[in-house]
Amino acid sequence: MSQSLSPAVDPTPFESSVGSRSHESVVAHHFVDAEQQHATAELGMWMFLVTEIMFFGAFFLAYLIYREWYPAAFAQGSHHMDVMLGTLNTAVLLTSSFTMALAVHAAEHSQRRQLVGLLSATFVLGAVFLGIKGLEYYHKYAEQLIPFAGWTFGPTGNERVGMMAFFNLYFLMTGMHAFHMVLGLAMLAILIVLANSDRIPSSRSILVHNVGLYWHFVDLVWVYLFPFFYLVAIRPAGHL
């Protein structure tokens, strides 16, 4: 592949074209310098997050419509949420965002040991979140509040379908969020392995930076999901 047509200009256009720059990283052949490569990677990640916002946006739209349709049922549904566990999970997740932000800082400053430690802490906190979420799911199953698996909730008519819509949305949106958490954990695991074998020099800290952006995004989704499902009834029923 890496033949050259212009020896006079650039002897190896497909290899590192770092030249006089002090970066030790490999700049891909189609970039002028490491700076351009970083800026490109970061913009790419932001664009990807835009697609994620639109993806979740469809579910949030469904939520808004059904909450407008069934305000009473949504308030009642939120009484079946475990606010304590939800709050705990929110705290766990926000802490993981904090450790992730510190990890990005460590990566940018070539602090390898701190980087591995902070990424691992983020990973553990993420796993704890999923564990608590699983426990909550199990409680809902035991209370037979899963609309598509053993639903036995009593009332009829509008209240019944409203509650079903609430719990359908609850499992859909928290499930979709958990799925993104799993993907985030997988990315973190890869980063931990790379960092541990010293393959993330500060010039490649964009890797950690981008995973960090993703992780914060997933946290941010939860920041909306938590009040949307757990805290509805704090406002009087009937008022959105």
């Binding site: 913009l43 469809a58 379908v161 859909l172």
Partner: protein
């Protein structure tokens, strides 16, 4: 042909390696564009064959060729294959992939590996959909409307939906790549207002790909979860609303029309400028009108739902917003026309396609205004009028521009010229065949023939036979380019670097370009479309016969 301009065969992106591996694992945007070209051509043929059977069935008022169920599966297969696997990727993933890095003076797209991944996702999605068709087909129509798709249809909805979902990721990756490339990879001196208009419209189309496709993905996920798990977001028995699917679907699928047609606008802007040897009239208006269309396109989805029970007030607003789309579209048509006015036009094949496009797109766009009228839409909704309207946009628009663009950049892509007389003949056949196929459908629709039925009253037969006859001419017209373009790769005359005398960075590098596109990253010092004055051009034309003579 003058031999002075022909450079000796040198190392280029095509002859750098001949192994299968070097193609299937390539990161070169130009090779990936050719992989996409093979893909979209394959799916175009599949979708075309489905349309051929549909048109054959419609020759007679009775259902004598296919049963109702088979017919439903045929038009579904035609729609799904053509929209998701031909029209959406055709120009962005083939011409866009090939040209965007060349036009912005870059060595590749921003993310070459994601680009390759997008092709694999596209093929995976396409082949999954093809499998579902072979296994038994889908009968929901390409729109997958709930509750039919989520609850009642016993066909291969899941496999097809998964195929479309997968292809959606490839579309997102292509759009993301083009946006980031345009922002970050432009060569020195290439400011936004020096960009070719093709880049402006590719950028606008990419914005839609990135913003709209995830919503389709979400809608498909919801249909899938309803079929598999029973999460009834669209199920009234669980408090859901089947109409919500239509909202989500059209929030994607209406902007998707502009994913198909905005890149076509970009191609036409290049062709009109080149073959009138002029800077397009109102460069910045053409550029910004692409963005206006992209933005307005997100606000008009409700015009697909005028008779779906949405509120009258919503209908009024969607109607008004739909009318507004005509303004930027009109700006484009008027500006192309103004570019042609008193210019020294030459009549190479790409220009024939471009002129065909302007006429057909105008008819398609104006009939879109009829459909945006609430009262008229009640009459013609779900009739052949709608079918004719969107085929004028998609076939008369996108396919014409795609073919025009393929011919125009064929010398750059392959290093060979296409045979001009065969190409002109095909362009004219396609224009005639297209109009004969679809114009009668406007009349059929206005007379009240509904779409998606294979049995119809006797009095509609004449117009249907005309339509089917036109379709066969159209088929011949499409068959020729597939043949002579392949022939030209081996036997066509060797192409010079800039056979049509166009401006733009892609013409300043050899045909075909080397793998790294430019020996040296160019530095741009002049405006786009900086064509030579008439007298200078005349002088050059005498020396190089291939430059179009006024």
């Amino acid at each position: 042909m003058s031999s002075t301009v022909i450079s000796p065969p040198n190392r280029n992106y095509l002859n750098v390696s001949y192994t299968v591996r070097s193609w299937l694992l390539t990161h070169d945007h130009k090779r990936i564009a050719l992989l996409y070209l093979v893909g979209v051509t394959f799916f175009f043929v599949i979708g075309g064959l489905a349309a051929a059977v549909v048109r054959l069935e419609l020759m007679t008022p009775r259902g004598d060729l296919t049963e109702s169920e088979t017919y439903n599966k045929l038009f579904t297969m035609h729609g799904i294959t053509m929209t998701f696997f031909f029209l959406i990727p055709a120009i962005p993933a083939v011409l866009g992939n090939f040209l965007v890095p060349l036009m912005v003076g870059a060595r590749d797209l921003a993310f070459p590996k994601l680009n390759l991944l997008s092709w694999y996702l596209y093929m995976l999605g396409g082949l999954l959909t093809m499998w579902s068709i072979l296994a038994g087909g889908v009968d929901t129509g390409w729109t997958f409307y709930t509750p039919y798709s989520s609850t009642y249809s016993n066909t291969y909805v899941m496999a097809t939906a998964l195929g479309v979902f997968t292809a959606g990721f490839s579309s997102i990756l292509t759009g993301l790549n083009i946006i980031v490339t345009t922002h970050k990879m432009r060569c020195p001196g290439l400011t936004w207002f020096r960009l070719p208009l093709f880049i402006w419209s590719m950028y606008a189309a990419s914005l839609i790909m990135v913003l709209a496709t995830p919503v389709l993905a979400a809608a498909i996920v919801l249909v899938g979860l309803e079929r598999v798990l029973g999460i009834g977001i669209f199920d009234p028995a669980m408090g859901g609303d089947p109409l919500l699917f239509q909202h989500l679907f059209w929030f994607y699928a209406h902007p998707a029309v502009y994913i198909m047609v905005l890149p076509a606008f970009g191609v036409i802007s290049e062709l009109v400028a080149c073959f009138s040897q002029r800077r397009p009239f109102g460069y910045s208006f053409i550029g910004f009108s692409s963005f206006a269309i992209a933005i307005l396109g997100f606000l008009v989805w409700g015009h697909h739902m005028f008779v779906s029970g949405q509120s009258v007030y919503a209908g009024l607003i969607f109607s008004l917003l739909s009318f507004l789309v005509a303004i930027p579209s009109g700006i484009k048509v008027f500006n192309w026309t103004a570019t042609l006015y008193k210019a020294s036009i030459s009549w190479e094949t790409p220009m024939l396609y471009a002129l065909g496009f302007v006429g057909l797109f105008t008819i398609g766009g104006l009939t879109g205004l009829f459909l945006a009228c609430l009262a008229i839409d009640v009459h013609v909704h779900d009739t052949y009028f709608v079918v004719a309207h969107f085929h004028y946009i998609m076939v008369g628009g996108t396919v014409m521009a795609f073919l025009g663009g393929i011919h125009f950049w064929w010398p750059k892509i392959t290093g060979r010229m296409y045979p001009e007389s065969w190409a002109r003949l095909s362009a004219i056949l396609i224009f005639i065949g297209f109009n004969l196929t679809f114009f009668p459908q406007f009349i059929l629709g206005y007379l009240g023939m509904p779409r998606r039925y294979h049995i119809y009253p006797e009095e509609f037969q004449v117009l249907n036979v005309m339509s089917s006859a036109g379709a066969s001419i159209l088929g011949v017209g499409y068959f020729f380019p597939m043949t002579y373009l392949i022939w030209s790769i081996f036997y066509g005359p060797v192409a010079p670097d800039n056979p049509f005398g166009h401006t733009g960075l892609e013409w300043q590098t050899p045909s075909p370009p080397p793998t790294e596109n430019f020996a040296e990253i160019p530095i741009v010092t002049e405006e786009a479309y900086n064509f030579l004055p008439d007298d200078t051009r005349q002088k050059i034309a005498e020396e190089v016969p291939l430059v179009p003579v006024a």
